[in-house]
Symmetry: C2
Subunit: 436 residues, 2 copies
Amino acid sequence: MQQLSVGMVGLGTVGAGVARILTRHADRVARRAGRPIELKWAVVRDVKKRRDADFEGVRIVDDARRVIDDPEVGVVVEVIGGVDAARRIVLDALAAGKQVVTANKALLAEHGPEIFAAARKADRAVAFEASVAGGIPIVGAIGVGLAANQVQSLAAILNGTCNYILTQMTQGGVAYAEALADAQALGFAEADPTLDVDGTDTAHKLAILAQVAFGADVRTADIPREGIDRLEIADLNYARELGYTIKLLAHARLAEGGLELRVGPSLVRNDRPLAQVHGSYNAVRVEGDAVGETLFCGRGAGMMPTASAVVADLIDVATGRAAITARALDFWPAAAAPIAVLPASRTRRRNYLRFLIADRPGVIAAIAHALGDKGISIASVIQHEPTQEDENGEPGPVPLVIMTHLAVEQDLRDAVREIDRLDVVRAPSVCLGVEE
Amino acid sequence: MQQLSVGMVGLGTVGAGVARILTRHADRVARRAGRPIELKWAVVRDVKKRRDADFEGVRIVDDARRVIDDPEVGVVVEVIGGVDAARRIVLDALAAGKQVVTANKALLAEHGPEIFAAARKADRAVAFEASVAGGIPIVGAIGVGLAANQVQSLAAILNGTCNYILTQMTQGGVAYAEALADAQALGFAEADPTLDVDGTDTAHKLAILAQVAFGADVRTADIPREGIDRLEIADLNYARELGYTIKLLAHARLAEGGLELRVGPSLVRNDRPLAQVHGSYNAVRVEGDAVGETLFCGRGAGMMPTASAVVADLIDVATGRAAITARALDFWPAAAAPIAVLPASRTRRRNYLRFLIADRPGVIAAIAHALGDKGISIASVIQHEPTQEDENGEPGPVPLVIMTHLAVEQDLRDAVREIDRLDVVRAPSVCLGVEE
């Protein structure tokens, strides 16, 4: 078979990693792909910037058109990130008959239907293993490895920055702001970390996984999400006392009436493998109807882990597997059997609740009553003796922590609103999910 | 595309699971396979045995020849287990031009080269996802998902029976014999559990993984292995005190000079995900040169998890992906670039050592001296005050536990032989590996 020529658009960290593997391990790649894979073009913003030896022989240009118009190019790798320019390049590449490999989660989360419609029209594959969970081959695992299953649920740590920060907070006992600054200093967090810490990045990836695992066509904006930016160290400590660790989880579950989707800080029992996923690692727990529970962990970002996924996709394109998989799995299909996404209010979960209450008789009864009224049953309670006094020398307000059994979200919200109105409650309550 | 007709040989637990998925989820399977997959034949020992509704329309016979001679059959599923009959069926099926799906680890571990030579000759695929780690799609993960990587190391829990027993011993504090009896009563262990608990089953699977990940052609007998059948609860307790959990691990690592391979009970630090793999679950940690560390967990055996892998292979055969993968990965190739397997004596590992020593001055010094003489350095030590007295009212022998840094196996053996000769050492020492 003749060689596969690659045009890569974007030469940031991931692009440099891809070039490194294709250049330094050309033999290995050719062996597994059944033919050589050659990096022919790289499209960059600044063609004058010096490149290292991995780019010898690569034509470096600043116009993606050059690549797309080259009939020798069989596949376009999109690693520029962002949405608008990336969308244009992917659509143009498909229209020109190229296969496409992309690492762009925002692009697929926002424009999946348009891009896959274009791919079907052109009879080309769009491979996107690198767009979710970096080096973990999760798209292949769900779509191919677990193809005999109907996925029942997913729970995933999909943002390495957040997991790094949470690990620092949990293990080092440092507050959010300090852990974030530390992550920035070490390069684990961007200068502007908003999209990571507010849960948007995780929601992008969940939107893609919801398509891969459930065929659900969801936009990021439709996924209820909460970030880690308002997490208090107190809650990590109570979680530990209860035998749990707090992780930023993407959650999806086939429930009666539709699909539950959400992103938020959640308590995970310490003896569950997800709780032991530390630092910048990602992990995806997949429950299938035949296989039961499976877990896939690895680095979710970074130069070489993401390049590992991009090159795996290139090998899949070169062998012809990608074309078969694209046809068989038909992501974001034209005629989707629409799977209903449950409104957040109708989803069910266990909850961790923290209230700041006056140390007075009857307070716990009042709170328990408000929960009971909504049919929410209490699994466990922590209240320690008060250690602070208020300005009058009276015992200060004390935290009360309650873990509930499964509760419908709307009932919980109603109960908490009720509780927050009690005059013995001294601050808005904290409410986090608990992953089963 | 026309339907794919399946002839299944063997109708035990796994075969019944495969039939269940193919029958009850025929639509799902057809959608993902691009065409219907029909179970046409089942070959059993006793055709008169009653079968459930999943076998309506399936021709049940006791002669595999009927299946192999049927030109309509496109793929033969071998799930009878054992080695000799299975080998015959697989070779005959390939010679008749059928694709093959097998769940048979012993067969591949013993006859991989012969079977894949026959497959190449017939230009047919032998798919074997179900042969290692049951429902975990690990062959696909390493061969396809991580195809951009050179695997550097593997550490895996591959026997659910052993992991169940070890979990019972660790969490319940029960001795080996009791945990085994319990596992047998619950159906997690066979009446004759020898091949599970002595490490043979794990070694079969490691032999297959060594081929998939490193291209190493190894027979089970060549893998140094130790089982869990002589593990004492004392060592699980000391491990816990040191912050470790004991797991039966398959280990492979590309070292200088060749490939390290071994199977044995090993200490894993509690904060590593492998330590949190409980009960009958399996897990494979794969370290790749690009992706870094990844971990794949799930059920390693049982009716539906194993059937999940067999049906995934059938879907791969139906789509044509299996044929491509077989050609690209070329398992047990004719002209293997032989990778040297290091003799056990030259491998390196950290060690957990337990000695039973007289409570007398100079004993620890003598032991430390014997280790130091061989260049083995001590990482940590536990010795508690003696609690027993011997028949003369003197303090009884006390256990001394030492964790070493990395040591060459031969040096360690020499040092331990030296130590066991000391007259102050009261019992043969216990030596377990420590997984990094």
